[in-house]
């Protein structure tokens, strides 16, 4: 395994508020209005955390919401 000597680390673009909103939009794109309460709550919490700057905690909630959406058939 080589260790890269490059001093400049590569930026991870998914650690951003923009990505939060993108996930939020993904959730919305699943038939809006009929979302279960639990998922709506996770989404709200997630976007709130992202807005407050806690991006990774927000992302974790949004991702959980997406996964449970995919599990429950529409």
């Amino acid at each position: 395994m080589r260790i890269m000597p490059g001093p400049k680390p590569i930026i991870i673009t998914s650690d951003s508020v923009a990505f939060c909103f993108r996930l939020s939009r993904v959730i919305d794109s699943y038939n809006k209005g009929t979302l279960p309460r639990k998922i709506i709550q996770l989404r709200e919490e997630g976007t709130d955390l992202c807005r407050q700057g806690l991006v990774r905690s927000g992302l974790a909630r949004l991702r959980r919401a997406i996964i449970s959406l995919k599990r429950t058939p529409p």
Binding site: M1, I3, M4, I10, I11, S14, L59, A60
Partner: protein, 494 residues
């Protein structure tokens, strides 16, 4: 550490660290063994934990790459983009890294801002520093070349694992250092223990070499191997000093006992040379001198015999024979002598007594005992010779042993306890025996013969008189009738 190695004389003070010392070698071997086994053990643990974690990450990436390849084959860049987006959206662990670029290096999909310049799509594993929201982490990545100049990078953020790995590595390293310290301590302890033992042995033996025969090894009383060695060495020293005492005493005695008859012979000859008036007187003096010199010869012969018997060389002449006729031969001789001294001679013998040993020598031993009994008995006493077989307690080999018990009892002057203890020493004669003829070698010869037969000579008081008892273990196969020739006996025994 260099100077002590050159220590020359054997008596030189041992240096603090002498490379050629056994104790240091033992300590080193102990330490090295300890450290090496600890190293082996801990690296096994390291490999089983940290190694396994890394292997898991690599496996996950490889499996992921295969899935992505098949998507690429089915639906090209657009399908791959969708799948990558999906993966990123559902990455609850928040550690997946993807990047898809086209042949110009332009970003197509994924969560990395740009293609790291140093990474080539050559399927090697790389460690890549990445910038997260709040931290700078390390990721493990692998790059793949796709058709049409596309390039794909798959990776995992392993900083969580890195922490664990660092922790484990540190712990194991510390454990190893502790073990090494323990090994050094243990080695030092072993060395001290060893040195202590060896030094105490060598101190004692050195003192003895310098002439202090009274020195003995200290016995701790713990009954371990060291005590055993100490006891054995002490026993050996005891025996050596006893032998040395014996030699000293014998040479003194020889000097004294030979001098007396020689001096007497010389005086007689000188006297005769100066004062003899006729040939008859001269002859008488010469005869006396010859008698005295014969005495010297017989003492020398007896001494030589004892020495020869003690060397054990005669054991090869042992045969199986019936002891009773052999004893009767001796008795016949001494019956007459006893009668001359006005003594009653009784015999108390079984009809047969198979015996394994040297016939002539055993007869000599019994003759010496009878000779003493007659010599030290006043008239009208009774002398008894008896022999019997007694069975002893079970022996170590499980057989019930048989013992010949032969004793000569008289009612003479007897001996006190002190004299009995010394009676079988060469040249020993008790105070009361000074005016009887003899040289004090009779019982010494008996003792040597009995010992050659693995037996014991015991003296006991008969009040009045003395009991001399010989105990000799008998061969196991004495079931064989005494008439059986020895050759057959050997065959049955084998």
């Amino acid at each position: 550490m260099s100077a002590p190695v050159a220590s020359n004389a054997a008596g030189a003070q041992p240096g603090f660290l002498r490379l050629r010392s056994v104790s240091l070698r033992f300590a080193l071997v102990y330490g090295i063994l300890f450290v090496c086994s600890a190293l082996l053990f801990l690296s096994f643990i390291w490999w089983g934990t940290v190694g396994l974690l890394e292997h898991r990450v690599e496996q996950a990436i490889t499996i992921d790459s295969r899935a992505l390849f098949s998507v690429w084959e089915e639906s090209g860049p657009s399908g791959l983009t969708m799948i990558i987006d999906d993966r990123l959206e559902q990455d609850v662990d928040d550690n997946a890294l993807y990047l898809l670029v086209n042949k110009d290096g332009k970003w197509i999909a994924g969560n990395l801002a740009e293609w790291p310049r140093q990474i080539l799509p050559n399927h090697h594993w790389f460690s890549l520093p990445v910038q997260r929201a709040y931290t700078q982490d390390i990721a493990k990545v692998r790059a793949y070349a796709l058709p049409d100049g596309y390039r794909l990078l798959i990776g995992r953020d392993i900083s969580g694992r890195t922490l664990l790995r660092k922790m484990l590595t540190d712990t194991l390293l510390w454990a190893w250092i502790m073990v090494s310290l323990l090994a050094i301590g243990g080695g030092w302890l072993i060395r001290r223990l060893f040195r202590h033992v060896i030094h105490s042995i060598s101190r004692t033996t050195q003192a003895i070499t310098h002439g202090d025969m009274s020195r003995r090894m200290p016995v701790q009383g713990s009954d371990d191997e060291l005590d055993e060695i100490a006891k054995t060495i002490n026993e050996m020293l005891d025996r050596i000093s006893r032998l040395m005492d014996g030699v000293r005493q014998v040479s003194n005695a020889i000097a004294h006992d030979l001098r007396t008859p020689i001096t007497r012979a010389r005086t007689q000859l000188e006297d005769a040379a100066l004062h003899a008036k006729n040939e008859a007187e001269l002859r008488a003096a010469i005869d006396k001198a010859v008698g005295n010199l014969d005495n010297v010869t017989s003492i020398c012969e007896a001494l030589l015999r004892i020495a020869q018997i003690e060397s054990g060389a005669r054991r090869s002449a042992f045969t199986l024979f019936d002891l009773i006729p052999a004893l009767q031969d001796v008795c016949e001789l001494y019956e007459a002598v006893a009668e001359d001294h006005g003594l009653i001679f009784k015999q108390n013998l079984p009809t047969h007594l198979p015996f394994f040993g040297d016939r002539a020598m055993f007869q000599q031993a019994v003759a010496n005992l009878l000779d003493n009994a007659i010599k030290f008995s006043p008239p009208n006493g009774t002398i008894t010779l008896s022999a019997e077989i007694v069975s002893t307690a079970r022996r170590s080999d499980g057989n019930r042993g048989k013992l010949l018990n032969l004793s000569v009892t008289d009612e003479g002057i007897g001996m006190n306890e002190e004299d009995m203890a010394r009676a079988s020493e060469r040249f020993f004669r008790a105070e009361q025996a000074r005016n009887t003829p003899g040289s004090g070698l009779g019982l010494a010869l008996v003792q040597a013969i009995v010992q050659l037969h693995d037996g014991q000579l015991q003296l006991a008081s008969n009040s009045p008189g003395l009991i001399t008892r010989i105990e000799i273990p008998l061969p196991d196969a004495e079931i064989v009738s005494p008439a059986t020739p020895p050759a057959e006996h050997a065959i049955i025994n084998s």
